[in-house]
Structure formats: C-alpha cells, structure tokens
Symmetry: C2
Subunit: 433 residues, 2 copies
C-alpha cells in the first residue's frame, strides 16, 4: 500500500506530526514509514494519490457495547438504573436469538466502518453463540478487535442471569475457539462489573485469565450510587478497583476499565502500577448523569487513558464526537479549577488512535504511522469547504480539527485496514441493517 496525501498522526500525546505531499507506505499489514520522497526501491509501484486530503490513523474504540448499538441515541431522558432495566437489559436479552444477533451485529459493524473505527474492544452479551457471531463477522470484515462474552450472575434480570459454572465453561470455550479459528479478533474476559459478578464467578474468571493470558475489560467508578453499592458488597476491599485486582482480573498492561469518573488516590496508584488503560467516556458520563472525569489529572498522574464511545451510554459510534466531548469536559472542569489543564486537539487524537490502538491485548499496535504499526488508515476530505479552505489557506491541523468538531462520516473518503482498502462490510446484502 502506498498512499499519497497530507499525512497526519499523533505519535505522542501533545504532538501532531504533519507531513504534506507525502507517502504513507505499508509492507503487508504494517506501516513501513512516511516519506516526503518515495524510496528508490519503490519507484514504479502503484501509488494512490489523494491530493491534499488528510491521511490519518483509523480510530480505535476502547470501550463499546456492541449489542447496544441498536439503542444508540434512545432513552436518554432516563437515568442509569431505569435505563438499564427498561432499555439495555431487554435489548440484550434478544441476543439469545442468533438470527437477530447476526443482523444486529452486521449493522453495528457497518456503522463502525462508516464512522472510521476499524479496531475496537467490545462487550457482547451473556450469549456465547451471539458473541461468537460478532467475533466471526468482525474478523471476516477486516476489523481487528477484542470481544468478550459478558459474565454476570447477580443483580441481573432473570433473562440474563447466568449459572457461574456454565458461564465459565462457555467463556473458556469461546476464548479457545477464537484462538484457533480467527486471525484478527481475540477474546477478552468481560465481567460486566463488580455488582453483576459474584466472588465465585470473578475467581473463576481470574483463573482463566491467568491460564490463557487473557486480557480483561470491565467498568469502574462510573457513578456514585454504583460505588456505594460496590462498597456494600465488598466491605473488606480497599476500593472498587481493588476488587478486580483481588480476583485476578487486573493483568498488568492487559486490562481496560471504563469510566473512572470518581477514582480515589489509592485507585489511581493501583491503576498506574497495573498499567491499566482507562477508557474515558465523557459523552456517556454526561448522558447518564454520572459526572465529569478528571481526565488530564488522571493522565498527568501517569495512568494511561483512551477516549471511547461507550455506546449506548454514548450515542455515537463515531469517535470524533467523543474526542470533542473530551475536550469540552476538560474545559468545564477548568472553569471550576484553573489548575486543571484543558485537553488539546493533538492529545484528543492520540487518545482515540495510538493510546487504545497500542493496548497490549492486541496482537499488534495500531493508531500511529510509526514503523510496525498496523496500517489502519482513513482518508478525509471535505468537498463542502474545499474552495474556501484554499482561499483561507487552511493548515492540515486546522482541517483535522474541523473534521473532529464538525465533520460527518461522509467526509471519510476511504478506509484501509491492515494495508488494504476496506470495503463496506456486508454491502452485498443491501442497505437493510
């Protein structure tokens, strides 16, 4: 793959690398480099010339509930608990129906593609066949992903509550099957969150995590009533986050915890030591009246973070909306306390590309154009403003910023996954989701 255009990426949190009229070259699935002039040995190779369009890393969503895509943007007048009971659980229960699940997950993957997210870490439901279908479909369509069957055996509606032994058996089976049959999609252990999982289930999952070296995803410190509930369920644990660690569910550098709105100092220490990736979901945290996470404080305390959609707590699968939300959320914290710094554009891009893309649970890193990174790429071009951009001499950074704040999926002219042009998934099946 050789693409020519205005190549922009964020190799470090606060640094936007811009290389105009340059070539992004991949050898197979991996980036070889970005060149102002094509290396001599590549002369004569076919080049896709995108003019001055932006060539950026594809987005990586570190936290998304795939089944809930069907509820994205619906039920937002309800608060967290009624929303879970009236919206989320009834929808997830429908994934017992494999045909329904297959249709729903095709729609989810098609929309991810449309929005430029080519790598993701997703919750499925408790249903192993439906979760396998998501894994299989994502792999076939060309995404790289980590997907987990949800485990939950307490505080769940009857339609979703699991027997812990069976839950563990199905989990192990899926993890092994993914390893054997799939090229680009791996399994991630997925206890829903502490209130949904008994000690027995968490211990069993922890044993699987150790046995197979699995990564783990869950939730932590999303809202205050949830934190009180966890404290009442685990009175001997130092904190919510410590419960995961105590059950072997915080493997070093292979754990993603969503939210962290209300992390205590001892939890920040723990997450830093265990190299946990915190998936910051600012739009969801506002939608569900959870709060505003101190993102820049948490980053500056040495905890790795990413910006994620948390659909359907978040309403948009597209990550630009969440990047803009993360910037705004950081500014609203700054209104109240000037010692908190605002997030900038370059860092927002980093948090939606390299930070989640280089999560060690993946087989290879993505989200940057450094050599060896997976060549997942978007070409961004807004025809609507081309003439005025030229008149005003817009810089590449300005054009990227405008795409993040006010672009639309139609501005994504092309997508490449692992160095190959990625067609719309399941397009031959027609537009019916």
């Amino acid at each position: 793959m050789i693409l020519k255009g205005t190549v922009v990426w964020a190799p470090e949190p606060a640094r936007l690398e811009v290389s105009e009229a340059s070539y992004l070259v991949a050898d197979g699935a991996a980036v070889r480099g970005v060149y102002r002039e094509l290396p001599a040995e590549l002369a004569g190779e076919p080049v896709e010339d995108w003019g001055d369009a932006l060539i950026v890393p594809a987005f990586v969503d570190a936290h998304v509930h795939a089944p809930q895509y069907l509820n994205a943007g619906i039920g937002m007048d309800e608060e967290l608990l009624p929303w879970l009971e009236r919206r989320t659980f009834p929808l997830e229960a429908r994934f017992a129906d494999a045909a329904f699940a297959s249709r729903a997950y095709r729609a989810f993957l098609r929309e991810l593609w449309r929005q430029g997210t080519l790598r993701f870490v997703a919750f499925g439901t408790v249903h192993a066949p439906a979760t396998w279908e998501l894994m299989r479909l994502a792999d076939a369509a060309g995404f790289t992903a980590l997907v987990g069957k949800v485990n939950m055996d307490r505080n769940a509606p009857a339609s979703l509550a699991e027997d812990p032994a069976r839950s563990l058996g199905e989990t192990e089976e899926l993890a092994l099957r993914a390893r054997e049959e799939l090229a680009h999609v791996g399994f991630i252990a997925t206890p829903r969150f502490v209130p949904s999982t008994t000690d027995r289930l968490m211990d069993g999952l922890g044993a699987l995590v150790e046995k197979y070296g699995l990564p783990v995803q869950s939730h932590v410190d999303e809202n205050r009533s949830e934190i009180e509930l966890v404290a009442s369920l685990h009175p001997k644990s130092e904190s919510y986050a410590h419960v995961y660690e105590e059950h072997g569910l915080m493997p070093r550098a292979r754990t993603i915890l969503a939210h962290g709105v209300w992390l205590k100092p001892s939890e920040i220490d723990l997450l830093r030591r265990r190299e946990v990736l915190v998936a910051h979901c600012p739009q969801s945290n506002a939608n569900l009246t959870s709060g505003v996470m101190p993102l820049t404080r948490t980053l500056d305390a040495g905890v790795a973070c990413a910006v994620a959609s948390d659909v359907a707590g978040g309403s948009n699968l597209g990550l630009p909306a969440h990047m803009a939300c993360a910037v705004r959320a950081s500014k609203l914290r700054r209104v109240r306390d000037e010692s908190e710094r605002a997030l900038g554009l370059a860092e927002a891009l980093y948090l939606a590309t390299k930070a989640p893309g280089s999560f060690a649970g993946f087989a290879d890193p993505s989200g940057s154009f450094e050599p060896g990174y997976r060549a997942d790429v978007l070409v961004i071009e807004s025809a609507r403003t081309r003439e005025l951009d030229e008149l005003l001499g817009r810089t590449p950074a300005e054009r990227l910023e405008r795409f993040v704040y006010s672009g639309e999926s139609a501005d994504i002219a092309a997508r490449y996954a692992g160095g190959e042009r990625m067609p719309e998934p399941f397009a031959q099946e027609g537009s019916g989701a």
Copy 2:
C-alpha cells in the same frame, strides 16, 4: 402543501405531539393544521406521501455569527481572548471585501440548509455592504431571518473599529433598505456586546430601536472576566444586563441576549420583565471554557430561552448537536445539585423550534404546526436503520431522539420553507463553497 407522514412537534416545552399517518397541510406559507384524515374539501389535491418518515418543524437558530461559519471547528485549543484576536477578528476583517463576503455567505446559507435550519438570527460584521449581501442572499434563497450589521467602536482591532456616527448612519440605512426591499429578512440592531460599544453608540442605537421598532440582539454574562470588564466600564450600572436596558437596547419581547451563563438574580428579574429571549449556547460555552448555564433554573424562573449554535464559538451549524449538548449540560449541573432538573427531549426540541421561531421580532411565528405558524418543515428518514427500527418497533419519539443524538444531515430527506419545497441554495453555482 400537503405532506403525509409521522408528524411530530413540540407545541409546549414538555409535550411532544405525535400524529402518525397524518397530513400536514399549509395554505400558502402558513400551517392550516395536522389531520388524521384529509378534510373533504382537500380531496383530490396532490399529497406528498413520505411513508412513515418523521415530519418535524425546521430548526431555528436564535444566535449565530454568520461570518464565523468559516471558522467553525477551528482554533478550539485557544481560550476566549486569544481566540477572538487570532481567529475571529482577522476573519471578520476580510468581509470588507464584498466578493469574499458573498462567497462566504453562500457557503453559510448552503450549510444551514443542509443542517435543516431554515430560520435564523445572525450577527454579520461591521461591514454594511457585506451584511446587506447576507440579507439579500438569505431572502432570495427562501430563509426567514433577522440579520444585523455589528456595531463596535471600542476594544476593537483597528480593522474593525467604527466611527460611531458612521456606524449609526449605516445601521439606519440598512434597516430602512431591508424594510423596503426584502420580503422575509428583517434587520436587527446588533451592538456586539457592552465592552465593544461606547455609551454614545449604545444611546444612538437605542434611539434607532425606538424610532423604527427594531429588535435587538447582543451578548450577556458569557464568562467571568467579561463580566468583570463590564463592571469596570459601567460601575454605576446594577449589572451587565442593566447596561442594555439603560441605553434603550432591551425592547420588550424583541430582545435576544446570548449566553446568560452567570446571570444574577436581579438580571433574571429584568430579563423576565422585558420578555428577553436568552439564547443558550451550551456547546460554545464549553468550547470557550465559559461555564455551564443553569438552563432549567432560568426557564423555571420564567425567562424564555432557546438553544442556539453560536457558531463559531459553537462548532456545528446543525442544531441537533446543540440540543444534545443542552441536555448533557443540564445533567452535569444535576450531578452537582440534584435540585436542578435535567432537560428532556421534548423540551430540547421546543427550544430549537417554537421558542426561537415565535420570537416577536419575526413577522410570523414558526417552529410549530399550530395553525398560522409558518410552514417550515423537515422530512427525516434514516435508511440505515429502517429494517431494525421495524423489527424493534421503534416509536416516532424514539426515532426523533436518535436523530437528535446521532443523526446526520444526510438523514434530512427534504426541506420546505413557507409551504414550498426548498432546493439547495445556489446549487446551480456548483458545490464550491
């Protein structure tokens, strides 16, 4: 005009009216009514049947800086003052060039149309010819609008600072010319904000407001340093808002003030008494680190409010993004104080349609489907989710909510202004903005 579909509108703040398989009928430019069965005397009239697509009032933007559209989504890493100096003022200075202004305003109007905003209240620049061009273009394209030439004669860069006598003369001339030559676009007096306008200029404008019965738009209480500046400039005034009243710039029911993030109780009293419409711009207030306005408190205190874009403080011309932002902002206030109620979907729709559309500065009301309201209409249909919507039995309110939270302009299938299908403005000139 007779449209058939799923008709949805918000005649009151907390009430969504839904009429499925119904007819929206207009006589000329005005709504006649919504009917489950077509009145007998209309039998045989041509009906445009949109199936079960949503038929909703077009959006109304009560506060937008038309020239700044070119900066939408750019420069957001900067705080208010450097942003004004580095981004806003240099761009506005270019509107001295009439050819530039014409191109820019065509792009602005085209994007408004794309996003479904068919009525607006806009700041131009200090330049009378450019502002006239905006008024003329908007009128010709079929929008209804109130547009003002900006007045500013202090704290302005040399390129934009005006001589007060000349500023007043040009203002009067434009107001008269609009009255004589334009059918649907009126003039609105537009002192930029207190820090930009001397007492002399404000007094002169106040006299024009009284003489011609002009409406007024300006800004109030956006951020704390601005408020301190106003207090130092007008130490004898009771508040920022009172300065406008003292200069005759708060005509009853014909005044729009943007922001009101930090209104004092005495200002809330004043705004209620003068029936001021407060344009709430939550996205802009976050983008510029201004704060979170207590929207529901202000509404419940009896002050009329609308949700507005404030482009380019806001990054999107489309109002759905701002409606969602307004809901989220109200929820973030609720996190800190449970006595503040969250904004709901129906009220968010009301605040982006009927509340600004029925501002008395307009010749006729819009934003609702009650008889006599101007028939400005959007048809909304998302092909992407049609099959799953049917499978899940989505209600019209759910489909509307999803459009607000995660729709795109491509989901707007048709626009009608004053009872007539509205084509893309200036489309014959090609796509080049």
